[in-house]
Amino acid sequence: MSETSYAVLGMFDSPDALMQAIPKVRATNLGTVEAYTPYPIHGIEEALGLRRSPLGGMVLVMGILGAITAFGFEYWISAIDYPIITGGKAANSWEAFIPIMFEVTVLFATFTAGLGMLLLLNKLPLFGHPVLSSKSITGITRDRYALALEAESDAFDSAAAARALQEAGAVEVEVLPAPERSPFLTSDFILRTLGGIFAACVVSGLAMFFGTKWFPLLPPMRHIEDQPRLNAQKASAFFKDGHGMQLPVPGTVARGYLPTATGTQEQAASLVNPLPRTKEVFTLGHKVYSNRCEVCHGALANGVGSLTAAYGGKPANLQAQQFRDYPDGEIYWAIVNGKNAMPSHAPYLTDQERWAVVHYVRALQRAQNAKDEDLKVVAP
């Protein structure tokens, strides 16, 4: 046997045979004794002299760390960084943080137990282990039990080890050569990679934190504020007068603001109501009248509105002969310019609405002073 052997495996057919062999093989002191079994065999830890698994302590520490992390995080967010009162509870109402603290504790503890066992204690994954490429592995993961004498130094005597195993009752013996190449994806590699990623995250996170803290004058993307544009009061060399904003061309009329009813009321008498006497126009006139005119002139245009009683004013009784004789244009003029105590309604009403009110006032006047022939028109 060459000096490059890794270990010698002895196979046993029953757990009893394995357990009886362990003390005999250990007594030879030829190398490290390790057992390979398809399922956990009880009492084998004591027989092999293994130390207790430190996993419990690791899980306890990480569980406590998880509890502290979660509680601290929740408290800092809810009470310090972002204290928003919800449900009428105080910002530092710690009782509400318990459920998540519990969940995170379990999460930390579980991943410590699982990954700590695999990566840290068992050093898995390890794909290149000599036992995996042995002939015996099909039995080991099925129904046979192996005892291995593993080389501790170059002085390992595989022939003596094979003999010792056979003497202890092994039915087969297999010498495992040392692995030819190093395994490619080991737990060490994974842990180092994860550690490297974690370190990179911490370093870059700190760099960003202090970077933005120490150089706050470097604003992040603000392109939307940097567009070239002219504000209303700014100067501009583009125009001759140097103003950023230009006056409109003389004579410009804004849309919906056609100048009307200028001059005196008498001059306005000649204006003709441009709207037809349709139902829509009367509906509009009624709506505008009840919004703007009715409080003073009253629903019947007789000068008895609800404000009259309250404030004692004397608005015009539009049913008086004087107003019934007004041409349409003069009523229109009064709406636009106001008269006596009545203010101008021009700012509130479009031209169309003013003329619609004129039509409606005419209708009210006629309704209050109806003649016999008016009835005939209505009758079918």
Binding site: Y36, T37, P40, N122
Partner: protein
């Protein structure tokens, strides 16, 4: 393993004598040949038919989810005041189904109930699939699922943090933790089994996949020592977790002020209901697995008998809880609570209330008889009844409580739409598709765990029953 020769049977009262966990002669090698050969054989025609049915259901559900995304969640029946309906019912239902797996794998492990070893793997797998089905519903219920990551507290440019006083956020943590822990537990249990499959397969392709998944497991005694410790710790942690998850789900309701929701009994009541529904689903699936995969010698009638006893016990707890709800309503002298309880037994949805009571309380009483506990007909009838009953229980809790609360002017009758039903069907499709695929690609029975409890598996000088 207690051998018959070591302990005379007549010294032990009949009820305490432990029956064998497997039937016939099972050796570690024959166990591997029986269980681990499934993934290497061609599935039978029935399997493809089953898969076609479940995949059709799955794609129907996907189409309806797509329709929901396209039109918005107005496509569902929820509207004021019943803002939570099918989505939350289904969420609670599926999370509950998952609880049986964790109970079997963790709590029964701590209690050293060795019969759990044969069924734990399937039950754990069902936990994972059920939680996957469950998380779909809150995700699509947020309306814009592509923004669902806002549920996590991460530093963001909006300078906003999540509200840690909200039970809905507790839910996010509870369900995510539950899924991660269940997946970890499941995978750790699978590693030695996958190693067995790796070493027995002749296909190069399978060997590559199993090699990667087994992480180079070689069954070393030093590894088993840490492995067993990790498994024990995980079982202990998962036990606390499984009790907390459905408690947290019940906080979604219990911490609100809606009459019918605001009850202190909710956490234990929800946990019991979850185990109840989950065990029924496990029984249903196990009967099919046992029959179609010729596993009668490993999943024995004794397993089903014990499972049905658990279902019966949970049914009694549910009955007590329902009565406590009525008692609380009466004893509180609160007219709103009174009204909400009367709604369950005589309101617009009284039929749902009575359906819940009959399916969950009355039908399972048949399991008092051993004949019913060991008869496929009765156990399947009870299991289907309980599944329907537990779904309607969540309907009763959510819809009946919401549709009539304090303000009569806001009362409204809730009607689900076709889309609601379609998405529910889709999750059933997803669940059973996964169950079917799992049955063909991974060992359905934890062979390593069963090997350890076979007769003669442990050294005879260590003859007590302290092993797993």
């Amino acid at each position: 393993m207690r051998s018959d020769a070591a302990i005379p049977a007549n010294d032990i009262p009949e009820g305490l004598f432990e029956l064998p966990l497997t039937e016939g002669r099972v050796t570690p090698g024959s166990l591997d040949d029986q269980v681990l050969s499934f993934p290497e054989t061609k599935p039978p025609k029935q399997w493809y038919i089953g898969l076609a049915i479940t995949l059709s259901a799955l794609f129907t559900g996907l189409a309806f989810i797509g329709y929901t995304f396209f039109t918005g969640i107005g496509a569902w029946g929820n509207n004021s005041p019943v803002f939570w309906a099918f989505d939350i019912i289904n969420f609670v239902f599926w999370v509950g189904i998952g609880h049986a797996g964790t109970l079997i794998s963790a709590i029964l492990f701590l209690f050293r109930k060795r019969w759990r070893n044969a069924i734990a793997r399937y039950a754990e797998a069902m936990t994972i699939f059920a939680v996957m089905c469950a998380v779909i519903f809150p995700l699509i219920h947020v309306g814009r699922p592509w923004l669902a990551f806002w549920l996590f507290p991460y530093p963001n440019q909006r300078a906003l943090w999540t509200n840690f006083r909200s039970p809905l956020l507790w839910d996010v943590f509870a369900v995510n933790t539950y899924f991660s822990v269940s997946a970890m537990f499941w995978y750790l249990g699978l590693i030695p089994d996958i190693a067995s499959m790796r070493d027995r397969t002749t296909s190069k392709f399978r060997k590559l996949i199993y090699t990667a998944l087994a992480l180079g497991w070689r069954g070393a005694a030093t590894h088993w020592q840490h492995y067993e410790k990790a498994y024990l710790l995980l079982a202990g942690l998962a036990t606390g977790l499984v009790l907390s998850v459905h408690s947290v789900v019940s906080f979604d309701f219990a911490t609100s002020v809606v009459p019918g929701w605001h009850m202190t009994i909710f956490p234990p009541y929800f946990v019991a209901g979850a185990i109840f529904a989950g065990f029924s689903m496990v029984v249903m699936v196990l009967v099919v697995v046992r029959e179609t995969m010729q596993l009668k010698n490993l999943i024995t009638m004794r397993h089903l008998d014990v499972m049905n006893k658990v279902i019966l016990a949970m049914s009694c707890i549910m009955g007590y809880s329902y009565m406590m709800e009525g008692f609380t309503a009466w004893y509180s002298m609160n007219e709103y609570l009174h009204h909400s309880f009367m709604n369950i037994i005589s309101g617009n949805y009284g039929w749902a209330g009575w359906l819940t009571i009959s399916c969950n309380i009355l039908i399972p009483q048949i399991l008092w008889f051993k004949k019913a506990r060991t008869s496929y007909f009765w156990m399947i009838l009870v299991a289907i009844g309980v599944t329907i009953g537990m779904w309607f229980e969540r309907f009763v809790i959510i819809v009946i409580s919401l549709h009539q609360d304090y303000l009569p002017s806001a009362w409204r009758i809730y009607k689900p739409t076709m889309v609601d039903f379609g998405i529910l069907l889709g999750t059933f499709g997803l669940f059973f598709t996964m169950v079917l695929i799992f049955a063909r690609v991974l060992p359905v029975i934890a062979t390593t765990e069963v090997k350890a409890i076979l007769p003669g598996a442990q050294p005879s000088h260590h003859g007590d029953d302290h092993h797993v």
